[in-house]
């Protein structure tokens, strides 16, 4: 994902607290995906207005990590979500 793209979760895709399995999951058409802490942190920040770069910077400050590391760790995860149309970017 490019740093100036603005990602968002489209209608029908939402973050859900799975109280039975004690985990965060992403619910989407016909799918439930268990979120790891990095995935949950990123998806929770999506607001449809801030760019991916801004979100990564914010997370880097919050978790005292490098922005490059966060962007790199999440690249494959976000690409897979986009390919399944569980994540969109603002046109």
């Amino acid at each position: 994902m490019d740093r100036d793209e603005v990602p968002y979760l489209p209608r029908g895709v939402r973050i859900h607290r799975d109280r039975v399995r004690d985990a965060w999951v992403l619910l989407a058409p016909e799918r439930a995906i268990t979120l790891d802490p990095v995935g949950h942190a990123i998806l929770s920040e999506l607001d449809g207005t801030r760019s991916f770069g801004q979100i990564v910077t914010a997370l880097a400050e919050k978790y005292d990590a490098s922005a490059e590391q966060i962007a790199q760790d999440s690249a494959g995860f976000l690409r897979a979500l986009r390919d399944r149309r569980f994540l969109e970017v603002q046109p």
């Binding site: 859900h16 039975v20 399995r21 016909e30």
Partner: protein
């Protein structure tokens, strides 16, 4: 040891009713349909949804029959959302109006899965047995788009309409669907009676494989294609239900709890009902769920097979229907001693020209009203 730890289910299929305006000859409902006056009440379904969420179900598929035939569909969707479930409406579109779709939006419906019987009215109305159905469905698609519901198109394919697959994929893109299920008919229930009319040829099955592979590459990031191939023409069986009693459960209109929607075709199984037993107890300890869970029940060649936890021996209902033993290897598998005979039968069904369609019937009431 059978399944040392049974995990909670992820998905529940709620068959709200067996009533349906269509009468598709491949309907997945059982040949013995639930009677109209035996359907669970709004209150009972609401309680079942709460129990399902407590048990760990995340995805609720509201199906039928045609779920829009239930006047309380909007109330049921609201109850399911209230329970914390992701709600998916599986519908033909018939029975939905602009007003009802607005009410479903307000109730919190997450996703719509719309069936497609054909890509034009001549095909779709003949297969659905309902004149005007296709035109109505195209109107409903516009209303679904206006609300903004995420949409999956579910194209059901067989020998008569497989040539329409490329157009079905185009239609999904035109409708703005994010996803299409390309579902070759599975031969259970009513479809089993229609094998001569519906069995695809081997050549059609391979052509569908090619079309799907090409479209997946071309439409990556635009349209997700989930594909159920023609399994009589496959070498390995489907991983049915993700493994019996591991992932999902099905509740019938009258409250029977099944490990899969066709499980009633296995005559020795006995099913618990939501009226008699809590859902969690049925999932973890019900006899029908324990029957084929794990691998203990397997015979050879499954027992020593390296794929036994890949496909769990395939479909129990298909083994029952075709070999007469629900614990046998699904004869779709190349390792089954019945595989060759099945392929010969498939070729025979596929070359039965001019076979008439046997349409699904309508469910009855306990006492039919006098003429």
């Amino acid at each position: 040891m059978t399944a040392p730890t049974v995990r909670p289910p992820i998905a529940m299929l709620a068959e709200l009713t067996h009533r349906c305006p269509l009468s598709c000859p491949y309907c997945s409902n059982p040949v013995e349909l639930a009677r109209v006056d035996s359907e669970l009440s709004t209150e009972t379904w609401t309680d079942v949804f709460r129990q399902a969420a407590d048990l760990g179900v995340l995805q609720l598929h509201l199906s039928g029959g045609e779920p829009a035939s239930r006047r309380d569909l909007e109330t049921l969707v609201a109850a399911a959302r209230e329970a914390g479930l992701y709600t998916n409406l599986i519908t033909s579109g018939i029975g939905l109006t602009e007003r009802r779709l607005g009410a479903l939006d307000a109730a919190g419906l997450d996703h719509v899965q719309l069936s497609l019987q054909g890509t034009d009215s001549a095909m779709a109305d003949e297969i659905g047995g309902y004149r005007g159905g296709f035109d109505r469905k195209m109107q409903v698609v516009k209303w679904i788009g206006a609300v903004g519901f995420p949409l999956t198109l579910n194209a059901v394919l067989h020998r008569r309409n497989l040539h329409q697959l490329p157009r079905a994929i185009e239609m999904a893109v035109e409708m703005g669907a994010r996803r299409i299920e390309v579902a070759t008919v599975q031969f259970h229930g009513w479809a089993l009676r229609n094998r001569d009319a519906l069995m695809p040829t081997e050549a059609q099955a391979r052509e569908a494989d090619r079309i799907v592979a090409e479209a997946r590459a071309r439409l990556k990031g635009t349209l997700v294609i989930d594909y159920v191939p023609a399994d009589y023409h496959s070498d390995y069986p489907k991983r049915c239900m993700g493994g019996w009693g591991t992932t999902g459960l099905n509740v019938t209109p009258d409250g029977k709890v099944l490990p899969c929607h066709a499980a009633e075709s296995i005559p020795h199984l006995r099913f618990d009902t939501v009226a008699e037993r809590p859902l969690a107890d049925i999932w973890y300890r019900g006899a029908a769920f324990e029957a084929y869970r794990g691998t203990d029940w397997m015979q050879e060649p499954c027992r020593s097979c390296e794929r036994k936890t890949v496909d769990f021996g395939g479909c129990r209902c298909q083994a029952m229907a075709l070999v007469g033993d629900a614990a046998a290897t699904d004869p779709v598998c190349v390792k089954s001693p019945h595989h060759g005979a099945l392929q010969a039968r498939a070729a025979g069904h596929a070359s039965a020209e001019d076979a008439a369609l046997t349409y699904r019937e309508a469910p009855l009431r306990s006492v039919e009203p006098a003429e």
